[in-house]
Each structure stands twice: as structure tokens, then as C-alpha cells.
Symmetry: C2
DNA sequence: TCGTATACTGAACGTTCGGTCAATATCTTA
DNA sequence: TAAGATATTGACCGAACGTTCAGTATACGA
């Protein structure tokens, strides 16, 4: 690789990192291109040389994020024996990686934003589908192992996703140890419910 | 009341209603003051005569919304005998009143928006607190009746809130009957869990 | 060494939008 | 009916923001 190409790659990363930090702190809309360039030291035009648009930049970060998340999960997944353990592990990674993760807040804001390109809509749909698929696998494994009873794994995957999304929206207000507790409790409820007697 | 005061009241309502419709359709940010005034037939300045700001207008609508919701709940609450029934009823009202409710999307966007006044922050905190209090009561009743087992009602209230928030974020993509099913399933899971064996 | 592709600059643009204000109309009250 | 309170108008302001582009610098290949 050229000296020039390396340099270029570095600026690209630098921009991405600065953008990531700002999106984390301030959200998507509140972060202006100007601020990002100010944080990198490079110029507006340069950002647009490396990234198609603000949306494109954000989408790039989302991809990066997803890849890292999956990689981290793959690392840990085999450590858990039971499916229930896996669930708690899943919750823990959610808290540790996502709750403080740069992009959670921004992503959420981005998703609910008004001005979405078709490309973005598609990408979002894709990400949701991936999540559901992940959850489905998680639950299905438990069912196969005889740990969980479930007639409709797909619907349960949706419920789990809802739970996780909701938690991520509520928990930023509290500190991490409380968040961990809340997530654990949520998974516990998901597994055992709160009814005094087992279902008839 | 004066003829003038009545007229004034009417314009106020008219503006509120137009704003509500637009916020529903387009979300908070995407709805401009100009559009609202165009929909009412009155002027920009007049809107600012009746409402302090766009935020203020939206806050007013939120209040209205909450009041209506509570009123509707009070109407139905006594129809349910067991606490479990109440839970399902709660879920049903959520779907019927909020899922398609004008302001759900806008409110969500508004909450995650960047430019919040202190006043708004406070109002949001207040609303969250109210919701949690509502949930707490719901769960506590079940505990008192011996239907639910719970050591930490407050935390469970948070988990329930998370579930509801998450569901409301996922379900708009699907039609109402499916949404009802999903909500019911979620409550069922909340009550009974998915583990094969009862908790040790 | 020179031409060229690549990397980078930053001023300027166009647009959007919330909010203001001086002027005006309308109604109330004394 | 005159004075004053109340309601309404809409042109205008200023700031923010994403994006563009004509131009400059730098490193590479020949």
C-alpha cells in the first residue's frame, strides 16, 4: 500500500472515530458535520470525499458496530453451558457493549427520524431481521435442549427483542450496576415469569 | 364567557387538533409551524399567541393524551377481576389506544430529540415516573392478592415499562390483530416465563 | 522531473424553520 | 361611543445545517 493510501485510510478512520464519539455524546441530528470535522482537524470537503453523506457515514458506523458485536458474542458464546446462562450472558453483553455503546442512542434517534432514504429503510429492516434471527436461534436452542417450552419461537423472539429494546431505552438513565441488575431481572422474568403458580 | 373568549378557545382547540393530526402523520420535527397554521387557516403569530412555543404546544398535547388515557383506563379497570386479567386489559388498551395513537411516534421522537429544555426534561421525567407508578400499583395489587410473587416491585415495574416501550416500538410495523397477539404473548411471558421448570 | 491522480481545503450556497414584532382588526366595558 | 383589552396577521429575522465546488497541495508513477 502507498504511503498516500495509508494516510488516506488513517484520515478515514479518524473521521469515523470522531463521528462515532460525537454521535454517542450528542445523538445523530445534534451532531453537525462541522463538529465532526472540527474534532478531526480535517475539513468538511474532506469528509465528503471519504463518505457519501452524513447518512452514509452513520450507516458505515452501524455496520462496524454490528460486526464488532457479533464478533464479541462469538468469543463468549461457548463459555455458557445452559441456554438460560446464554440468555444472561446475552443480557450482560447488551449492557456492557450497547448500553454505553456510542451508537445506541444515536441509532435509535436515527431509526425514528423522518428523512430516511430507501437505502436506509432497507438497511434498518435488514438489521431488525438479523436481530430477530439471532433471538430466534437463542430461544430455539433452549427449546431443543428442553430448557424452554415454546410453541411459537418467532413470536417469542419478537417479545425478547421488544424487551431488549425497551430496556435499552429506559436504562441509560441509571448507572451500569443497576442496569445490569435490571437486565438480569428482566431475563429472569422472561424465563420464569412473576405468577405465583405455574401456568395451567 | 365572552363571545371573544369562546372564539379564542375555539381557535386554540383548532390549532391543537391540527397540530395533533400533523404530529401523528409526520412526527414532531417533520411538522413545521407553517404547516400547522396552514391546516388551521390562522396565522403563525396567532399560534404563538396561544402557545408559548412548538415544544409548549406539543407538551400540551401530551398532557391531553395522558389525561384521556387515564380516564379510559379508569372506565375499564373495574371490569377485570384478577390482576392477571388486568394485565391483559392493560396490554389491550395499550394496543388500541397508543399503538395507533396519534402521538406515540411523535412522542418517541420528541423524547429522543436533542434540543430539550429543562422544562421538557422535567415533564418527561414526570411522565416516566407516572408510568412507573402505574405499573407498580398494578403489580403490587397482584402481589397483595397472592397472584404474583415479587420481592422488588419497583424493579419489576421498570421491566414491565421496558417491555411495553419495546413493544410499542416494534409493533407499528405489524397490523393490529398481530399486535394484540404479540402484546398478549408478552404479558403471558411476563406472568409465566418460558422456562420449562418453575424457578428453584 | 513533470504530469497526473489522489487527497484535502473552506468559503459559499440554498434551504428550512422556529420565533418575533409592529401593525391591524375585533370585541368588551365603562 | 370612545378607550382599552384582546386577538390576529404575515413579513421578516437569524441561525443552523448538509452539501457542493473551484481551487490547492501532496505523493506517486513514468
Amino acid at each position: 500500500m502507498n504511503k498516500k493510501q495509508i494516510q488516506s485510510e488513517q484520515t478515514r478512520k479518524k473521521i469515523a472515530e470522531a463521528a462515532r464519539n460525537l454521535f454517542v455524546q450528542k445523538g445523530y441530528k445534534a451532531t453537525s458535520i462541522e463538529e465532526i470535522t472540527a474534532a478531526t482537524g480535517s475539513s468538511k470537503g474532506n469528509l465528503y470525499y471519504h463518505f457519501k453523506s452524513k447518512e452514509g457515514l452513520f450507516l458505515y458506523l452501524l455496520d462496524e458496530w454490528d460486526r464488532e458485536w457479533i464478533a464479541k458474542w462469538k468469543e463468549k458464546e461457548h463459555l455458557y453451558t445452559t441456554s438460560a446462562d446464554k440468555m444472561y450472558g446475552f443480557a450482560e453483553q447488551m449492557v456492557r457493549e450497547d448500553l454505553n455503546h456510542p451508537l445506541t442512542k444515536a441509532a435509535d434517534e436515527f431509526f425514528t427520524g423522518d428523512d430516511k432514504t430507501c437505502e436506509v429503510e432497507d438497511r434498518i429492516a435488514e438489521m431488525v431481521a438479523e436481530h430477530l434471527s439471532f433471538n430466534r436461534t437463542l430461544i430455539q436452542q433452549g427449546v431443543d435442549r428442553g430448557e424452554f417450552r415454546a410453541t411459537d419461537v418467532q413470536s417469542l423472539a419478537i417479545v425478547l427483542e421488544a424487551l431488549v429494546i425497551g430496556l435499552s431505552k429506559i436504562c441509560p438513565r441509571i448507572d451500569i450496576t443497576q442496569a445490569l441488575d435490571t437486565y438480569r431481572l428482566a431475563i429472569q422474568v422472561f424465563l420464569h415469569g412473576i405468577a405465583a403458580k405455574p401456568e395451567s
